[in-house]
Amino acid sequence: MSYSEKYETVIGLEVHIQLSTKTKAFCGCSTEFGASPNTHVCPVCLGLPGALPVLNRKALEYSIKAAIALGCDIQQKMKFDRKNYYYPDLPKNYQISQFDMPLAYNGRVSIILEDGSTRDIGITRAHMEEDAGKLLHAPEEDSSYVDLNRTGTPLLEVVSEPDMRSPHEAHEYLVTLKKTIKYLDVSDCNMEEGSLRCDANISMREKGAAEFGSKVEIKNMNSFKAVKDALTYEEERQVELLEDGEKIAQETRQWDEKNNITSSMRTKEETQDYRYFPEPDLVPFEISRELVKKIQDTMPEMPGVKKDRFRNEYRLDEKSADILTAEKDIADFFESVVAEINDPRDVSNWIKGEVLMHMNECNTDIRGLNLRAADLAKIIRMAKDGTISGLAAKETLSACIDTGKDPADIVKEKGLKQVSDESELEGIIKEVISRNERSVNDFKAGKENALSFLVGQVMKLSKGRANPKLANEMLRKKLL
C-alpha cells in the first residue's frame, strides 16, 4: 500500500493580502512602495506617544469588497484588538488586528482539482489588521536598520478551513484566491513583492481518521511555487516520521528555499502569548447594511461568470476564454478591442499571442504595456483588409508598444504598406528570377519547394512589403 493510500494530508492556509489603498490603515501616510526608508511615516504609524489611530474608510471598503467576493458573511459589528508582541519593526509593540469580532466569517473559494472536478475550500474568517515595517540587516556592520514605511499598511488576513488535501490543492486555492482578489482591484497580490503572503498549516492522518494529526505551521514561503514545494517536502517528512513510529511535534517551521527543506523555528512550548484585548483607541464599528449593499452594487463580474459569458457571447473556446479572463484588465482590454472591431476570434488570437508575448517580454501587465485598444483594433483591421502583411502587422504592434505612435503613421513611416500592385512588383520579380537561376530551374523541373524560396526572396527584396499571395501568383505565371 502506498503512503498516499494510507495517509491523508490536511492543509489550511493563512493568507495576508496587502490592500492597495493610497494611504495607510490608521493614518494618512502614503503606502507607495519603494520610497526611501522612513519617509512615509507620521506620529501615528511611528507609534509616537499620544498619537491615535483613525480607521481608513477605504481600507474597510476594500476589505468588505474582498470578503463579499470570497462569499463571506460580513458581520454587523466588528472591533479591533491589540496583538501584543515585541519586535523592532512594530513600533508600538502591538499590532492592531481583529481577534474575536472580525469583519467576516464563513466564505468559500471554489478550486479545480487535478481530475477537473471542482471543490469548495471553506474560509473560516477574514479580518483586518496593520502591517509591520521592515528590518534591513547589515551583518558586516553588526547592526540592523528599521524602515517603517510599510508600518500601518492595511492587510486583510484570510484564514481557510483545513479543507485542502494536497499541495496541489493548496496551490490552486492560492491561484484562485489571487485571481478573485485581483479582479476587485483591491490588491496587487504580488507574492514576490510581499503584497500577498502565505503561512501554511499541514498535518497528516491515517485515511478515515476523524481526528486531525499534530499541526505544523510553515512560514517564509515567498512564491506560490515555494508553498507547493514546502508542503510537498513537509508531507514527505511527516509521513516518514509516522512510518518510523514517531510523533509529529506541533511546531512552527520555516521553509529554506535554497536547500529545499523546512527547519524548526519554535516549538509549541515557545508559542507566544499575544495577550489580545480590545483596542481602546478605536471604538467598535457598526457595518451598515447600506454600506455592504453599496459595495455589493459595485462588485465587478467575477472570473467564472465572465468566462462563461465570453464563451457564449464571443463564441470562444474554453481555453481562450480562460486565458482572456485570467486577469480583469486583460478581459477589459479584449472587450474594448472587440468594441472597435467586431471580430472576437481574431482579437482573441492577437491578445493570446502577440500581446501576451510583449507583456512577458517587458515583464509587465496589460496596463504597463500602454497599448490602446483602438490601436490594436486598427492594426488588426489593416492586416485583415490586406493593407499590411501579417508580418508587418506584428512589426507595427511592436513599434506601437515601443513608441505609442498611431499604427497608421507607423505603417507610413516604415513603409510597411503591402504592395499588391502587379506593376510595382514586376521589377522585383524580374530581379529575383535573374538572380536565382538554380531555384528557377529546380521549380521548372517540378520542385514545388523552390517556389516558396523564390517568394521568400521577393519578400526579402521588398522588405516584407510584397503581398506574398500576389508574388506567388506572378512567379508561377512567369515561370510556367
Binding site: P43, L46, G47, L48, P49, G50, A51, L52, P53, V54, L55, R82, N84, Y86, P88, P91, K92, N93, Y94, V146, D273, R275, Y276, F277, P280, D281, L282, V283
Partner: protein
C-alpha cells in the same frame, strides 16, 4: 500694581493695566514661578526660553483670544511640539514630540501662555505625585504633605498661584483627587468630550484631559476651549459643546441631587464627611432637592480599575524600549538585552508594578478570570449610575476619603495608596463627567473637596451646581 493670578478675569485686568509686551510679562511670570516653585516643585522643569518664545508669537494678537496671555500649566504627559514631554519618566528622556496635542492647539488658538511641564506621578501611576523621576511635588497648603496625584504638579502650580489654570489628565481621579487635596477646582470631562490626541496614554479607555482652576467660572471657560470632537481621536464624540459659561448663572432650583450611601462609609475621615454634609445643607438651602440613592457596585470599583487600567497600560507602555526614541540602555549585547536593560533602567517601581499586573491579567488563562470579568463589573457600575440618573440630576460625594497625607506615608503600601482614589474611580469606569470643588477644611487646616458627577455629556449641570455652591459657601 501687583500681579493678580487669582482667576482669569482678575489676571486679564491686571495684564491690560500693566500694558507691557507679553514677552516681558512671560519672563516675569517665569521668574516668579521659579521663585515660588523652589519649595513646591510643581514643575518638572520650566523652559523659560520656550515660554518667552511662545509669548512672542501671541504678541501681535494683542488681547485677542479668551485666554490671551493667561499662564496655563501643562502636565508633563500632554505633547507640546518640540518641547520635552516625558511623563515624569526616565524612559522618555529627551523625547520632544513633533506635534501638539489637540488641546494644546485649542489653548494656543485662544492665546493661552503655555507653561510646561507640570510634574506628575510617572506615567500618571500614583495618587501622591511622589513617583516622578524628577522627585516629589509638595502640597502648597502644607509642604510636609503630598499634593495628591497624579496631576499633583499641575494642581500645585494653580494652588500656589504660579499659574491661573492648568491642564491635567484623569484616569482614576488624577485631576480631582489632587485638586481636592490642594483646595482648587478640578474637572474630569465625559469620556469622549475632550480629544485625547497628544495625551500620552496611561489607560486609553479611561483617560481624559481636564482643567484645574481657581474657581468654577474659569473651569467653565477652560472646558469650553478644550472640548469638542476631534477627527484625530476616534473615541471623541461628535456632539455639540454647550456654552458652559452660560450655565454659571442658571441657579439650582428644581434640581435633584443623589447622595449615595456607599460613599459615606468605611475609611472616610470624620472631617471630610462633616464638610460634605455641610455642603449638602448649603445646596438644600439653595433649593436643591436631595435623595438617597444606592450605587451597589461601588465596592468593586477599585478592584475593577486595577485590572483594566494596568492591562491597558501594559500594552500602551510596550512601545518604550529604546529602539525608536527615548532612553536606550548602552549596556546590552543583543536586542532582548537592550529591551530589558532600557526598560529596567527607564521605569520606576510603580510603573514596573503596574506593567506586571497588567501583563498578568491579560495573559492566556487569566484573561477571562480577570480582564473579562472586570469589563463586566465596569458595565454594572455604569448601570448603577444610569439607574441613579433616573431619579437625580447629579450625584454628590466626597472627592477623597481623607485630606492630604504626609509625604512618604503611603509609598510602601500600594493598596492604601490605591484606595486614595476610591471615590473618583467610578466616574472613569462609567465615563461620566465629574467635578471637585473645595468645601472647607479639616481640623488640620487642609482642604476638603466635594465631588459632583452627572450623566454623560451633562458637564453643564455640574458647572451649574458647582458654581451655585461656590458662590454661596
Amino acid at each position: 500694581m501687583k500681579e493678580d493670578l487669582s482667576d482669569i478675569n482678575a489676571y486679564k485686568n491686571w495684564l491690560i493695566a500693566r500694558a507691557e509686551p507679553l514677552t516681558s510679562v512671560a519672563a516675569m511670570l517665569v521668574d516668579r514661578a521659579s521663585r515660588i516653585d523652589k519649595d513646591i516643585h510643581a514643575f518638572a522643569a520650566i523652559d523659560a526660553e520656550a515660554i518667552v518664545r511662545r509669548a512672542s508669537r501671541f504678541e501681535k494678537k494683542d488681547g485677542k483670544g479668551r485666554l490671551w496671555g493667561v499662564p496655563v500649566a501643562i502636565k508633563d504627559n500632554i505633547c507640546i511640539k518640540g518641547e520635552l514631554t516625558t511623563c515624569g519618566s526616565r524612559i522618555l528622556e529627551g523625547f520632544r514630540p513633533p506635534y501638539n496635542a489637540t488641546v494644546i492647539e485649542k489653548l494656543q488658538s485662544e492665546g493661552a501662555l503655555l507653561m510646561g511641564r507640570a510634574n506628575m506621578d510617572e506615567f500618571a501611576f500614583g495618587s501622591s505625585c511622589e513617583t516622578s523621576c524628577y522627585g516629589p511635588t509638595r502640597n502648597p497648603m502644607d509642604l510636609s504633605c503630598i499634593p495628591g496625584g497624579s496631576s499633583g504638579g499641575a494642581v500645585a502650580a494653580v494652588a500656589s498661584g504660579q499659574v491661573v489654570a492648568a491642564l491635567g489628565s484623569d484616569t482614576g481621579g488624577s485631576i480631582r483627587q489632587p485638586a481636592s487635596l490642594c483646595g482648587v477646582v478640578g474637572f474630569k470631562p465625559t469620556y469622549g468630550r475632550v480629544s485625547r490626541y497628544g495625551l500620552i496614554a496611561f489607560a486609553s479607555s479611561l483617560d481624559q484631559i481636564g482643567p484645574i482652576t481657581h474657581n468654577v467660572a474659569d473651569c467653565a471657560t477652560m472646558l469650553e476651549v478644550i472640548s469638542g470632537y476631534d477627527e484625530k481621536d476616534s473615541t471623541s464624540v461628535d456632539i455639540e459643546v454647550p456654552r458652559y459659561t452660560e450655565s454659571l448663572s442658571k441657579g439650582v432650583k428644581g434640581l435633584t441631587i443623589g447622595i449615595p450611601s456607599e460613599y459615606f462609609t468605611g475609611g472616610i475621615d470624620k472631617d471630610v464627611s462633616e464638610r460634605v454634609n455641610e455642603a449638602i445643607k448649603v445646596l438644600e438651602g439653595l433649593g436643591v432637592k436631595t435623595v438617597d440613592i444606592s450605587l451597589p457596585h461601588t465596592k468593586y470599583a477599585v478592584s475593577c480599575y486595577y485590572i483594566i487600567a494596568p492591562a491597558e497600560a501594559s500594552s500602551n507602555l510596550a512601545r518604550y524600549e529604546g529602539v525608536h526614541y527615548g532612553r536606550r540602555s548602552p549596556d546590552a549585547d543583543d536586542l532582548i538585552g537592550m529591551y530589558i536593560a532600557s526598560r529596567n533602567e527607564g521605569f520606576g517601581l510603580e510603573a514596573k508594578r503596574r506593567i506586571l499586573l497588567g501583563t498578568y491579567s491579560l495573559s492566556s488563562g487569566y484573561y477571562e478570570a480577570y480582564y473579562l470579568k472586570a469589563l463586566k463589573v465596569r458595565t454594572k457600575i455604569a448601570n448603577d449610575f444610569n439607574k441613579a440618573f433616573d431619579v437625580c440630576d447629579c450625584v454628590l460625594t466626597p472627592t477623597s476619603p481623607t485630606t492630604a497625607f504626609k509625604l512618604g506615608e503611603r509609598m510602601d503600601d500600594p493598596l492604601k495608596m490605591y484606595l486614595s482614589d476610591i471615590f473618583t474611580i467610578s466616574a472613569n469606569l462609567a465615563g461620566l463627567p465629574a467635578i471637585t470643588v473645595p468645601c472647607g477644611e479639616g481640623r488640620n487646616g487642609l482642604p476638603v473637596g466635594l465631588q459632583l458627577m452627572a450623566r454623560p455629556f451633562a458637564e453643564d449641570v455640574l458647572i451649574q451646581v458647582a458654581h451655585a455652591y461656590e458662590q454661596k459657601r
